[in-house]
């Protein structure tokens, strides 16, 4: 007698095999860097969303540093954004540079702001990597929790087997009620 039902497109054993393979990969820490970044971003997004931040904030933050950081080099203080007039202004400022240096020294300020700009970029890089590392640790923690649960289940199984015979007499069903007790 055949006991197998094979419907087209659904093979429970194949589905379970792929589920187990996936779980095994996770247990071995086989997340790709891309997957970990994705998870890390998702978690950060969730936090940001909770405070009504723009959901694209993180993406923009990483993609367009010019929007949030400033670029600073030794000529920045002389630059102008006023087109042709600006170019004339910049030339004048350069000419007058030795004069203005008689009043104050802009070099320490230029150096500090330039370093601060580099530090800003570094902090973002550091925080992103920290988020990724925290995600990895979190996944490892989940894996340990799962192993702990599996071990706990084994211990409980032993205890349950020990109690099986006693417990079968502890609970009694209510007479007159049937139909929803499964079998």
């Amino acid at each position: 007698m055949s006991f197998e039902i094979k419907a087209e497109g659904v093979d429970v054993q194949k589905i379970m095999t792929s589920i187990r393979k996936r779980i095994e990969e996770k247990r071995q820490g086989l997340y790709t860097e891309e997957e970990i970044r994705e998870i890390a971003e998702r978690r950060l997004d969730a936090v940001l969303d909770a405070y009504d931040f723009n959901p694209d904030f993180v993406k923009d933050f990483r993609a367009l540093p010019s929007r949030w950081n400033f670029a600073f080099h030794e000529d920045t203080v002389y630059e102008s954004s006023r087109g042709v007039v600006g170019r004339i202004l910049r030339a004048l400022r350069r000419v007058l540079n030795p004069v203005q240096k008689l009043f104050w020294n802009p070099n320490p300020m230029i150096s500090a702001l330039s370093r601060q700009s580099d530090l800003n970029a570094y902090y973002v890089h550091l925080l992103t990597n920290l988020a990724i590392e925290v995600t990895k640790l979190n996944l490892e923690l989940q894996d340990l929790k799962n192993r702990h649960l599996a071990l706990q289940a084994k211990v409980e199984l032993d205890a349950r087997r020990e109690r099986t015979l006693e417990e079968m007499v502890v609970y009694r069903e209510e007479p007159g009620k049937k139909g929803s007790d499964g079998a």
Binding site: G9, M16, L165, V170, E173
Partner: protein
């Protein structure tokens, strides 16, 4: 053909798995044979106290003959003997354990021994009770055993393997049950067939009515059965809560059945208590899937009922019967630990097409193996083979 069914309890108000199974089969076979049930006066499976009057009555067309239980079960003494047979012990200890297990009804056994020739076959339900052990030994030449065995280790007690070699035939609930018993009893020579049992099917399903009447909204996972540690609910609750927390799922867990375990105070877990049969079917039809967290199942009729309602199941893979049923039917996924629970439930919850196809496979499996005409035919074929054997033996002698 006259059939005698021997079972520890019998009644329209008895919901226990093996007893309900026995009643359904007995009632359906009245279409093909004269059926009589030999049972005790007990209603309560804990104490076996005499509840029904001794004597005869007719229930749903089946003549029922009841015999008194000599003494009710002393649960403490039984627990003591249970502990004893788990350690080093003798065969006499096991027989004493069986006596404490009950239902102790020597009059029923004596009746089986005295009137066995009045029946063509005697069908004994549940191997682990006094009535089956002694009744079957009193009439092995006419005995058909329906063991309803679970993988709880009881069948390995030394008194039982010889019992499994005695009957003329064995009706198994599943191939896993058959393999489990055969591995210990080495009773391959005994004729047998995997038959199981059908269900009392509803005329219609009303999922919307269920939702309306019970105030259940949104998608939900359904559990039907006693809410009990032995049924795996102590594992199901934390698994489900963790699943929701980790995935952000909006799925709810709806529980149907009596609670003997504390149900967590969580709005996502809804306990409805006992439901009438029709409402249970409607709940099955309304659910995304049925979850069966039990490790100890001989068949799980509710799993079959979910499949009839075209609903997938999520079963405990540590129960070999459920694992086998899911694999054979392609009607459900299974889990052995939380990771698998999460992945499998996530898949079932997120893919309506998969749910539909699993449910359809389950229904096809039910129709192929558990429709009543098939169950009845298998019983009748088994009896016919036994009668053919008898005829051949008579000719030879």
């Amino acid at each position: 053909m006259k059939l005698g069914f021997v079972v520890q309890r019998y009644g329209l108000d008895i919901a226990g798995g093996a007893e309900y199974h026995c009643r359904l089969v007995a009632e359906h076979l009245t279409r093909h044979a004269e059926v009589e049930v030999l049972t005790t006066c007990a209603s309560d499976y804990v104490t076996w106290e005499n509840h029904y009057p001794e004597g005869e009555e007719v229930l749903n067309g089946v003549r029922v003959r009841r015999f008194e239980v000599e003494r009710p079960r002393d649960v403490y003494r039984f627990a003591e003997w249970s502990r004893r047979v788990e350690g080093p012990h003798t065969e006499d200890d096991e027989r004493r354990w069986l006596e404490e297990e009950g239902p102790l009804s020597p009059r029923l056994v004596a009746e089986v021994a005295l009137r066995r020739s009045a029946y063509d076959f005697l069908v004994f339900f549940s191997y682990r009770y006094y009535t089956t052990y002694h009744g079957l030994r009193a009439a092995p030449e006419r005995a058909v055993l329906v063991p309803t065995a679970e993988n709880d280790g009881i069948h390995r007690l030394s008194i039982f393997p010889p019992l499994f070699r005695l009957p003329r035939a064995i009706v198994w609930n599943s191939p896993e049950e058959r393999d489990m018993i055969r591995a210990d009893a080495h009773n391959d020579a005994v004729l047998g067939d995997v038959i199981g049992v059908g269900s009392k099917l509803p005329e219609r399903l009303d999922p919307e009515g269920f939702r309306r009447n019970r105030g259940v909204t949104g998608p939900f996972l359904l559990y039907v059965g006693r809410i009990d540690r032995n049924k795996g609910c102590d594992e199901l609750f934390p698994f489900f809560q963790r699943y929701r927390a980790e995935t952000g799922s909006a799925l709810r867990l709806v529980l149907v059945g009596k609670a003997v375990l504390d149900v967590p105070d969580d709005p996502a877990i809804v306990h409805l208590g006992f439901l009438p049969d029709q409402e249970k079917w409607d709940a099955l039809a309304a659910a995304e899937a049925l979850v069966i967290p039990s490790r100890y199942e001989s068949l799980s009729m509710v799993t079959l009922e979910a499949w009839w309602a075209k609903r997938p199941v999520l079963a405990n893979a540590r129960c070999e019967v459920l694992l086998g049923q899911c694999r054979r039917s392609n009607g459900g996924l299974y889990y052995a630990h939380y990771d698998e629970f999460r992945e499998a439930l996530s898949l079932v919850e997120g893919d309506a097409s998969l749910r539909r196809r699993l449910g359809e496979n389950g229904r096809a499996y039910f129709d192929a193996h558990y429709a009543w005409d098939i169950v009845e035919r298998k019983y009748l074929e088994l009896f016919a083979r036994l009668r053919a054997e008898d005829a051949a033996r008579a000719r030879a002698s």
